[in-house]
Structure formats: C-alpha cells, structure tokens
C-alpha cells in the first residue's frame, strides 16, 4: 500500500469511529472500542521496536505502566492530567534509553531477556515503594468532567481521545516506513553487519525507535488510567500485560502499518467481548477461542492477519498475470 492509500484508510477508520463515539451512546460498546484503540496504539509502539527493528520486547508493560502511574500520581496529588502525559512519556523514553543502550550492543535474545527483567524489577519495586502506592495501587479521585480534568461523563469522549492517539501512532508508522530511519531499521534487521558497513549507526537507530515507542506506550497508559481511574501494579506492569501487547503485534502482523490495529480488533473481539458475553458461563470458552486463534495464526500465517491481505493481493496479481490478455 502507498502512503496515500494508508492515509485514506486511516481517514475512513477515524471518521467511522468518531461518528460512532459521537452518535452511539452504548457505554459497553464504546468501552470496548476504547480498549481496542489503546491496544492498537500499544501494539504499534511494540511493532516499531519489535517489528521494524526486529528486537522483540517482552517488557512493554513497563512503558504502559510509566504513563498509567504518571497519571495516577498527578491525579492523586492534584496535578493537571495534561502534565502527566509528557511526564510519563519522558520517564518511559528515558527508561527505554537506559535499557536499550547496553543491550543494543549485544546480538541475539539478550534484549528480550533484558526487557523481561527490567519490567519485573519495576513491578517488584513499585510493589514495595510507598510513594508509588505499593501493591494497593492508586484509586484516582473522580473530578468534574471536563477537557481540563481529562475525565468525561460520556465514554465517547474517551474514545475520541484514544482516536487522536491512534491517528498519531498510525501517521508515525506511515512516516517511519518511508523515512531514512525506516530504511535503516529494515537494513539492520536483514543484516546488521552489512548495514553497519555502509555507515548505518545500528545502536542509534534502535535507541531512537525504542524511546519513541516507549513514549507512545506511556501516552496510551495515561489515557487508560484516566478512563479506568485505578492503577495497580498487577494491571499495568505485570508480565501478562506485556504478553498481551506482544500478542496483539504478532497476531496482527509484524512490521506492517495495520497489523497492530487488526491484532487489537481480534483481541478485543475475542478476549474482551467474548469474555463479557461468554465468560458468565464460566467455562473459559472465550479464552479457549482466543488461544485457538493464536495457534492457528502462528502455525498457518506466521506473518499475521495483515499478511493475509498481502497474499490475496499477490494471488490476484498472479491470476491476472496468468490470464492471457
């Protein structure tokens, strides 16, 4: 797809979801859309470092948590939630640089292991630091709904906020694909030595990508906290959250513009909507369905859902090439 058609697709999605947010006042559905958008952004931020740069992160919850905790702390101490957004993003980016700098010199799986370790350390630290609410987490005060307090009566407004962030993430990815950095990353992923030999600074490229993705994940964490109004270590920093983020990226398709969004759609439809509708029976049917789908995708289409579109296009092209004119 060209940047132009990506832009067109994004425009359609944004307009459709904005119309839904403004016109359809079903809180349950809007809540699902909100969670879906947050995971689409998280999946995209993961896709930058793990898809385009090929460095698999299993600790992305750390950055999500940075944003969520920034919002919780600003909320509890009566700071403006708008200041929490850049604060969380900065802390996340700084942490990404601190984790990435020593690791990106190494090859292989060291980076993945380091991301798990650092996220685990952060979770344990938060569990034991009084100022960070320990294991109890924070319940944020409910404020008068307004744009200034970033709290709304209507779910639609949360969806609009998430939609803005989603658009930023998508435009960022479309730009990245065409940018010098994007080509560097693909070169590094294909062969780091060869890339370095033609003057690509692999470490700088990966660090920049990782820090930008971390900041993006933190912004998603902040919005999530503003909507949920409860932030605890188990729900923002724990390994299952990191895995959910990575799954969204893998199911949707690595290094594609629309993969994370597709992954998030499946995640919300099966794990969340399925959970709400089927979970009451208590047989874990929804989780079985989601697990089964992951198995099918991983074994049948390792390039994810976005890869299916590519195959269809190739198939059509091949057929038309075979057909005599």
């Amino acid at each position: 797809m060209t940047p132009r058609s990506h832009g067109l697709a994004l425009g359609i999605v944004v307009v459709a979801l904005a119309a839904l947010a403004l016109g359809y006042h079903n809180a349950f559905v809007l809540n699902l859309v909100f969670v879906g958008l947050i995971y689409a952004v998280l999946g995209q931020s993961w896709n930058w470092i793990s898809g385009y740069a090929g460095q698999i992160s299993f600790g992305h919850a750390l950055f999500f948590g940075c944003g969520a905790y920034a919002s919780a702390l600003f909320g509890v101490h009566h700071g403006s939630p708008w200041l929490a957004l850049p604060a969380g993003a900065l802390v996340a980016a700084a942490l990404a640089l601190a984790v990435g700098f020593p690791c990106f010199g190494l090859r292989g799986h060291y980076f993945s292991i380091a991301t798990i370790a650092v996220a685990a350390i952060a979770e344990i630290a938060v569990n034991n630091i009084g100022a960070l609410g320990k294991a109890n987490g924070f319940e944020m005060p409910i404020l008068a709904p307004s744009l200034a307090s970033l709290q709304f009566d209507d779910k639609g407004q949360y969806v609009l906020m998430a939609l803005v962030l989603f658009a930023i993430a998508q435009i960022g990815t479309i730009t990245l694909e065409r940018s010098r950095l994007g080509y560097y990353l693909r070169a590094i992923r294909a062969n780091q030595e060869a890339a370095a030999s033609v003057g690509v600074d692999a470490r700088a490229a990966k660090l920049a990508t990782f820090a930008a993705g971390a900041a993006l994940a933190a912004l998603a964490g902040s919005l999530y906290a503003q909507q949920t109004l409860y932030v605890g270590p188990e729900d923002t920093l724990a390994l299952p959250i990191s895995i959910a983020i990575a799954l969204v990226g893998v199911v949707g398709g690595l290094s594609t513009v629309w993969g994370p969004a597709l992954g998030a759609l499946v995640y919300v439809a099966l794990a969340r909507y399925g959970g709400a509708v089927l979970g009451g029976q208590g047989h874990g049917l929804d989780l079985l369905l989601y697990g089964g789908l992951i198995l099918v995708i991983v074994s049948w289409r390792p390039d994810g859902l976005a890869g299916i579109g590519g195959s269809i296009r190739r198939f059509v092209r091949r057929r038309s090439a075979e057909t005599p004119a």
Binding site: N26, A27, F28, N31, L32, V35, I124, N127, N128, K134, A135, N136, G137, E139, I142, D153, K155, Y224, Q227, T228, L229, Y230, G232, E234, D235, R272, G275, A276, G279, G280, Q281, G282, G284, D286, L287
Partner: protein, 426 residues
Amino acid sequence: MNRTLAVGAMLAIVLALVGGSAAPIRGAEPAEIVVGSILPLTGGLATTGQGLKLAQELARDLINGRQPYPLLMAGKDGLPNLGHAKLKIIFADSQGSPDQAKTVAEQLITQDHVVALLGTYASATTATASQVAERYGIPFVNPDSSSPTLHTRGFKTFFRTTPHDATFSENLFEFMSDVLKKQKKPPVHKLAIVYENTLFGTGAADAEEAIAKRDSYDVALRLPYGANSSELQSEVQKIKAAGADVIFQSSYLNDALLFMKTYKQQSVSPQAIIAQDAGFIDPNFVKNLGKDADYIFTRDVFSLNLKAKNKAVPAINELFKARSPGGNNLDGNTARDFTAVFVLADAIDRARSTKPEEIIKALAATNIKGSDTIMPWRGIKFDEHGQNTLGNGLVEQIQNGVYETVWPFDVATKAAIWPMPPWDKR
C-alpha cells in the same frame, strides 16, 4: 363496536383505579427482579470465583423457593412485598482485571438493566466496578473485598457487608489481649510482622503495624518477602534474631508451608504465631504439615466448627456441598457471598420497588440480626459510608489438626492454648 370499546376502556380504568388503591404498586410489579453479579470466573482467581457463583445461586434458589430455613428472606417464594417476584442473577466475568470489571459493569447496567450489582471479590476489580455503579446510581453490594479504603470514597451506592482488613487486624489484637487477660498471662511486647509483599500481605502488615504502634507494642521486625521464594532460611534467621514474643504472619499456602518447616528446623518458638487466613486456612496446610500445623492461630470469617448462632448452618452446608463439584464445604468466602444475596433481596423487598434510589434507601436502613444469617456476626447494619459495622472476624487455633474457634469467646469451641510449646517438647 365503538360503544363496546368505550365500555371496555371505562371498565379498564375503573379496574386500574380499584387495583391501584388496594395495592399501590401492583401495576408496577415485575415477574422477575434482575440483579447483576460480577465475579472472577476465569483467570487466576477462577476457582474461588466459581465457588462464589455456586453460593450466590444457592442463596437465590432458597429465596425463590418455598422451603423455610431460619434465615431472613428464605422460603418465601420470591420477594413477598413485590408479589413474589423471583430474583434473577445475571453473572458476568471480571477475569480478575479492573478494566474488564468496569466493562462488564457497564454492560450489566446499560444492556441488561440490572437494578443492583453484587461482587467482585478482588479489591481492585471492586474499586472500578463500583465506580461505574456510583456514576449510574445503581446500588452495589460488596460481600467479600477486604481493602480498607473501599468504603472511604464517599460513594452513595456502595454497601459492604464484610468487615475489612483493618477490622480483621484489630480483631487479632483484641483476641491477643483478651486471651492473655482471661488466662492471666503477662502481656506481650515484642512483635514481628512477616508478610508476602503483594496486595494482600502489604495491606495486612500496614494495618497490623498501625495498631501495634497505637497500642505501643514494640515492632521488632517488619519483614516482607516474595511468596514464590524457594527457600526462606535467611528470613527465618532474621525472625529468630529479632526474638519477638508473637509473630504476625500473612502468607499464601506454599510460603506458609516453607516458613513452618524452616521455623521447626531452626527451632523458632515464639509464644504464638498469629496468621491472616489465606495459606493458613487452606485445607492443604494441615494435610501437608500434620501435627506441625498445631497451635497456629489464624483469623477467619466463617467456620463450620463454631457454637453456631444459626441452626440452619449444617443443612445449608450440605446443600452447598451437594452442588459443589469438588464436594467443598462452605468457607469464609462462599458464606459471605451467600449472605450478601439475602441482604440485597431483603432491601429490594423492603423498598417495595425496583427503582435503584429506593433500593439504596432500603439498603441504608438495613438492620439484620446476626442470628438471621449464617455468619458469626452480630448483624448487618451500614454506617454512613456503607460499611457494615456489626461484622467481626473469628480467631481459630489448629488443635490436633482441627480448626477450633477460640475467639470471640461466646462462639468458641475450645479454649486457646497459649503459649505454643517449643518444637522439641511436642
């Protein structure tokens, strides 16, 4: 044709007026009263959540049935003040996740139009689900979350029937001084607080430390540890070195077992080990340790082994056991969830209405005697924060492998054995 219609209409109006004056709410009587229940039905807490669902279903069936029990609202064929309308519970799965709990709360309120919510066991999910209920003005009855902050949020729709962690910890200290006074033993001074370092243990330890400081005990050691530790030698050495009279301990099962084995190995013998339920009331605790489990004190919220205030307890337990796939007895969690359904049904019945604001008013006016429930509580009566003020915990001691209730004294089955004998003299 027109004439018949007019007569019919007039007759209908007259009937409506007569019916209306005889019983003002007749016309509004629903056949079914729908409440929602949010529980962790899948995920890490699923085993507990499934048990809670069974307990709530049993309560619902007793309320809707005709078999009388000495329980408030049981066997009246539904809600008598609402024309014997039947109680219906729609269950939803929180997956143990705060934002999923919020999502399903929205769904129950806006899609299923429930008149009240029950749930949700884990404190974090109760925090978010009850926010939703507060925003929609739907009453929220919480049977089983023990975080002390839940009722202090200024909500008008939140009612918690269970005592919370601060009360439970308070009970443990009351028990300690009561027993020492009763048995004419010298008071203790030096305490050690040992706890697993996540939500449960940290909350309990904070509450214990606050009470210890207020009552001027000497907290010689405050020791957090990870519940999945594979060995605890150095932790136990620290505890031994602190030389506390009493160890206050909050542990899950595996770490509790490991601690007990290491205490024995290093012959750590304080006067008493007082535990916050969890691992210490797990059926596998005694199974694994045998005689070494003896003399441990633990808090609990319910016990089958107590001088029962309510004669229905054994019969209800048999009903529950028959429904439970594992043949489980009622325990502290299931008994509390069972009871909360009655509290809610009683309020809706007294409200004589399914309007949420009327149910909230009725809940606020709740006044149930302890003997009308299966709980060992003095009763159920909410303060202005919606916290039940008449609830209390129990203290049990393992004696010969059996959990005997030792406090409060009026429901006790055995006297407390204090101090525990040293390991080499057992």
